[in-house]
């Protein structure tokens, strides 16, 4: 009975956020598709269109899209919900903080997975050489979206003000992608940056997605690390949600 209520709460919260998305498809097309596409085209134009490079830039564009959608955009929505008082509607309802976080993650996953499909179709048009391993790719994308959305929730809860929250969400979203070896290989980074990158989820997401897109082996390691990172992020996200003050 309790599980049924929890699952129902998760799906309703996801639907509430989906309906918000319904009103913002223009913003979605711009930030979730056009900006990442522009990054792909720009990188291809400057660094050449050799298949391996193209695949890396394609993976980078996909991760940039995930980061913009989940940390920057969703994070900002959650920050607004908190500071404008909309979060109070959930807090005062018989809903657990875990259901709220999982509802948000569910929405982020549906949006991200749909976006991925769009990207894979786009890859055909742009002649990016991909041979996707569906299951592995699905797992990497799912865990990446869960981790990113979890980070979005944490950012939204720790922001001191509405304005600071917006800046923080933008900064975290961009920094995560550009500090991780997403658009370039790990070897090109200085040693200290390599150590930092080893703790960043996009490092494993980029590796896992590019392997999943080309049919290479070794995706399991990335899936394992991403799984651990998503569990940690999820736990921190649930604990960070200000459902009750001390």
């Amino acid at each position: 009975m309790r599980l049924k209520k929890t699952l129902s709460d998760i799906s309703i919260i996801a639907r509430i956020y989906y309906l918000q998305f319904r009103d913002q498809t223009g913003k979605y097309l711009f930030s979730g598709l056009l900006i990442p596409l522009a990054s792909f085209l720009m990188a291809s134009a400057t660094a050449g269109s050799e298949p391996r490079q193209q695949l890396r830039f394609f993976t980078g564009a996909l991760l940039l899209s995930f980061s913009i959608l989940t940390i920057m955009w969703l994070g900002s929505i959650l920050i607004e919900d908190r500071f404008y008082g909309r979060l109070k509607l959930f807090i005062t309802a018989p809903v657990s903080p875990a259901s709220y976080v999982l509802g948000v993650l569910f929405y982020a996953n549906v949006l991200g997975l749909a976006t991925s499909l769009g990207f894979f179709l786009g890859a055909q048009i742009l002649s990016v050489p991909i041979r996707p391993q569906i299951l592995e790719l699905f797992l990497v994308v799912f865990l990446t979206l869960t981790t990113f959305a979890g980070i979005g929730v944490v950012v939204s809860q720790y922001a001191g003000t509405l304005q600071a929250g917006g800046v923080l969400a933008d900064a975290v979203s961009i920094i995560l992608i550009f500090l991780s070896p997403v658009y370039y290989s790990m070897e090109t980074l200085p040693k200290s940056m390599q150590v930092l990158a080893a703790f960043l989820p996009p490092t494993y997401a980029a590796d896992g997605i590019s392997k999943g897109l080309t049919g290479k082996t070794g995706v399991g390691e990335d899936i394992l690390v991403l799984f651990i990172m998503s569990v940690i992020t999820l736990t921190v996200a649930v604990r960070s949600v200000r459902w009750k003050e001390g």
């Binding site: 309703i12 509430i16 918000q20 009103d23 509607l89 005062t92 009750k244």
Partner: protein, 312 residues
């Protein structure tokens, strides 16, 4: 803490009534050292409207947020129909419909989407949630707005939607934190009518307000919070009786003494009506007005006395 209460009749009745919310020795100390609630004892009875009045910073919202399980108390206990909101917050929230003070609706959702989704979050099945939408929309005169998004609705209509949300799931208790704050007089009266109707449906209502008129018109009992303490609690009559002078005589003091300007209006407070009559006879007044003290007089006297006490 001691709550001043005059007359034993109300006490005898209170003992016989069923308690919806029971608060004992509630203390809330914030991490910065501010003590917002100082040992509050309060029973809210089933089917009554209890208003909590108090100046800004008196601890009204802190009290409400502890009742709604949004805030942990430092010590003391709260029971919502025998459910402890700190141990079983979801169960307690199921029993309450809440209008939070700084709450807002989702601007992208329509009125009926709000009612449906939050009905479902209250645990209603799909069918019951849909039926509830059909019941609440006419009840709160929201027919013409049912498919409108919140962002285009006026503040008064949004407040009606909030009340509908608080009623969704049919909770026996309504907790309304300043439900008419920021509304124009007409919208405020609309909300009052709804609160009266909610009481008729047998719900228990606890509301905080800054509007004394609102408390006077809607409440069965009124509590006055000051400095985190519940200074007064009782019916309007109890509160009137709690101040020493309950009648106020106004007359023109022309010629009463050499020091007094002829145009000055004299206000005389008396403990009872006989006292007023005595003054009228003694001073042979022909033009005067008498009025019984209002809640505002009680409130200001209490708040003023407390301020003076704090200053000394």
């Amino acid at each position: 803490m001691r709550v001043e209460r005059r007359g034993t009749g109300a006490f005898m009745n209170d003992r016989q009534r069923k308690t919806a919310i029971s608060i004992r020795g509630l203390i809330k100390r914030y991490p910065d050292g501010t003590v917002a609630n100082r040992g509050i004892d309060l029973d809210v009875f089933e089917g009554e409207v209890l208003s909590i009045l108090g100046p800004n910073g008196a601890g009204k919202t802190t009290l409400v947020r502890q009742i709604t399980a949004e805030l942990n108390p430092t010590s003391g206990s709260i029971k919502i129909k025998d459910v402890d909101p700190f141990l079983e917050p979801l169960k307690a929230k199921q029993l309450m419909g809440v209008i939070p003070q700084e709450g807002a609706l989702f601007s992208h959702l329509t009125v009926q989407e709000h009612l449906y989704f939050f009905g479902r979050l209250k645990g209603l099945t799909k069918g019951s949630a849909r039926a509830q939408v059909e019941r609440l929309i006419p009840l709160l005169s929201l027919e013409e707005y049912r498919k409108k998004k919140i962002k285009i609705l006026s503040g008064g209509t949004q407040r009606r939607v909030f009340i509908a949300l608080a009623l969704s799931g049919d909770p026996p208790i309504m907790v309304l934190d300043e439900p008419t704050a920021g509304l124009d007089p007409a919208a405020r009266r609309d909300v009052w009518d709804i609160i009266r109707a909610v009481k008729k449906w047998g719900r228990t209502v606890i509301l905080t307000t800054h509007y004394l008129e609102e408390a006077e018109l809607l409440s069965d009992r009124i509590g006055i919070l000051q400095g985190g303490e519940l200074k007064r609690l009782g019916t309007l009559e109890d509160l009137y009786r709690s101040v020493p002078k309950t009648y106020r005589l106004f007359y023109n003091g022309a010629g009463e003494s050499a020091e007094r300007p002829s145009s000055e209006r004299v206000v005389y407070d008396a403990a009872d009506f006989e006292g007023v009559q005595k003054i009228i006879e003694e001073r042979r007044l022909t033009e005067y007005s008498i009025r019984r003290i209002s809640l505002e007089d009680v409130y200001l006297e209490l708040i003023g006395a407390e301020r003076k006490k704090n200053e000394t």
